[in-house]
């Protein structure tokens, strides 16, 4: 049977670990809440954006814009959103597995260190790496998006897609790839957005609107903004995923540590009792 002092030492160290994981769990919980609040705060912007987009989409029939044209896809451009830090369960592993599954020619842009490390380690075509703080700022998201849009204009990539862990519920994060550019069908995108936001059908507003400059020029300016907004929302969602994954991972770590402490305490008491019994036996044997 193990030495009582050794067991006591182990109990102490496991307790320390459980305190740390518990603190991390609480921090992740509050950060997740903030990411969700930020996502909600961006809603009015999304609604107004959709409104303007639908007004334009309804009026501009024949639109020529690089984002809307159908090019032959040689190189896919994929923006991978991962976390900077580990200890968040299988979140990053799941995202990275999706990268392995991509067999086409692709170039990558990484947000978050984990994805960047993986991409460079597996020697994939990593164009750029960006980091984003826990409190996601729009200006931080702008950088990678503008980089990708430029790469698209220059023809270095032929699509812009996003790979990120979609937030399903606190326990489930599902990595998905969602295509951003080319926008296949503007009106279906508008319909989908309107549906997502739960707004009344906006496109049926047929009041005459004066455009200044003309609608095509406005649309041209609006589309990059629209893409940026989409990515911003996605990154917020990925952050919420990250924090909830970390919260769950840390909760199970805390639970495991507590179980371990219980087991060790039992073992410790047994050892202590055995030692006492042993001593009594020795004393009584000596007196006889």
């Amino acid at each position: 049977m193990a030495n009582t002092r050794d067991i006591r030492r182990r109990i102490k160290s496991v307790k320390n670990t459980s305190q740390i994981t518990r603190a991390m769990q609480l921090v992740a919980a509050s950060k997740m809440k903030r990411a969700q609040e930020d996502a909600l705060a961006g809603r009015p912007y999304a609604v107004l954006m959709t409104e303007i987009l639908s007004k334009l989409g309804g009026r501009v029939s024949d639109i020529k814009h690089p984002f809307l044209e159908d090019r032959e896809v040689e190189k896919r451009g994929i923006l991978v959103v991962s976390s900077d830090k580990g200890l968040c369960g299988a979140l990053n592993a799941n995202v990275l597995r999706r990268i392995v599954e991509i067999k086409d020619e692709a170039r990558f842009v990484a947000i978050g260190r984990k994805a960047a490390q993986f991409l460079s380690r597996t020697q994939r075509d990593l164009l750029a790496e960006f980091t984003i703080s826990d409190r996601v700022l729009f200006s931080e998201v702008r950088l990678p998006v503008e980089f990708l849009i430029n790469a698209y204009y220059e023809g270095r990539v032929d699509t812009v897609e996003l790979l990120y862990p979609r937030y399903v519920n606190p326990l489930v994060q599902d990595p998905i790839i969602c295509p951003l550019i080319p926008i296949e069908n503007l009106s279906s995108v508008i319909d989908k957005l309107g549906y997502q936001l739960g707004e009344a059908p906006l496109a049926h507003d047929k009041r005459e609107i004066h455009f200044e400059p003309e609608a095509e020029a406005i649309l041209e300016e609006l589309l990059p903004l629209f893409i940026k907004q989409e990515v911003y929302q996605t990154v917020l969602e990925a952050k919420a995923s990250e924090h909830s994954a970390r919260m769950v991972a840390m909760k199970s770590a805390t639970d495991n540590a507590n179980n371990l402490v219980d087991d060790l305490t039992l073992q410790y008491n047994k050892a202590r009792q055995a030692a006492i019994t042993q001593e009594i036996l020795e004393i009584s044997a000596a007196t006889n």
Binding site: P44, Y45, L56, L137, F138, E146, E208, I209
Partner: protein, 137 residues
């Protein structure tokens, strides 16, 4: 009759209140909006947005964006908006200096065009803020 003005950025709703008239810095020059304006959709240039309520004038600097006038509702969609009163000149100048310095370095070292573009945005926006603030003095 008054207008309902909304200024919205991706991060939050910056302004949502009644106003008697609004002056928008559009790409084609400043446009004043009074109640009863025809429906209008226009692009905004980085500059100063004026809000006049009961004879009082408020100023906000906005980055490039879009404005929609529909009925008596003016909606402004922009990537950044700051109340002129809240602008901290020294902070703005610092940001501007940093960005300009980074731009110089970038020009020498051939940085990513996207990063340069980003820095240029910082310079542009902080310049506008500074001009707006100095006008108030």
């Amino acid at each position: 009759m008054s207008l309902l003005l909304e200024i919205i950025t991706p991060e939050k709703v910056v302004f949502s209140n009644k106003a008697d008239s609004v002056v928008l810095p559009t790409n084609e020059g400043d446009v004043g909006i009074l109640s009863g304006h025809i429906p209008l959709l226009t692009t905004l240039a980085p500059g100063e947005l004026e809000i006049i309520t009961m004879g009082r004038t408020e100023h906000l600097t906005v980055d490039k964006g879009f404005a929609q006038v529909l009925g008596d509702k003016v909606s402004v969609l922009t990537e950044g908006a700051i109340d002129v009163e809240e602008i901290d000149l020294s902070a703005v100048e610092d940001a501007q200096l940093r960005a300009e310095k980074a731009l110089e370095v970038a020009a020498e070292q051939k940085m990513d065009p996207a990063e340069i573009e980003q820095l240029e945005t910082v310079v542009r926006f902080s310049l506008v803020q500074k001009m707006a603030k100095e006008k108030r003095r």
